[in-house]
Symmetry: C2
């Protein structure tokens, strides 16, 4: 499935959250990652993020799509990250 992950975490956990998420998804912009991921890996990612986060402060939103057939993506301004880019 295709997943967009946006997160808003305490400063202390930003680097760790990003490092964890980038094992599974592509970084596209400040606090945003996306990519194709299996259900098993999505569960793993969620578990890892739960472990490192402070759930009373931090927030992770996962948008999951079974298909990208009805999906369009447009960037205005700078393309900061994305698939194939090593940041």
């Amino acid at each position: 499935m295709f997943v967009i992950l946006v997160y808003d975490v305490g400063e202390k956990r930003v680097a760790k959250a990003l490092k964890t998420a980038r094992k599974y998804l592509y970084w596209v912009q400040n606090s945003v990652l996306e990519g194709e991921i299996s259900e098993a890996n999505l569960r793993k990612l969620k578990d890892e993020l739960k472990k490192l986060s402070d759930e009373s402060v931090d927030s992770f939103i996962f948008y999951s799509f079974r298909t990208t057939k009805y999906y369009d993506r447009e960037i205005i301004g700078v393309k900061k990250g994305g698939q194939g880019l090593f940041l």
Copy 2:
């Protein structure tokens, strides 16, 4: 259509970008908004953001979906904003 907007703009333009985007979409998290929007309003929103942004620095990503039938949304941690919440 349903739109998720994530933005990453220079500090001077953050408040203005947020104010503009919130005329059309719901704020859900730091630099993330979403909501149902007509094509006409989406064009308006894009035009307004283009006008206020520095396109050599700022970045706006619009994910648009013709249907939310194949869509799932999960939050881990805190629910910060969303429809019906006046922030």
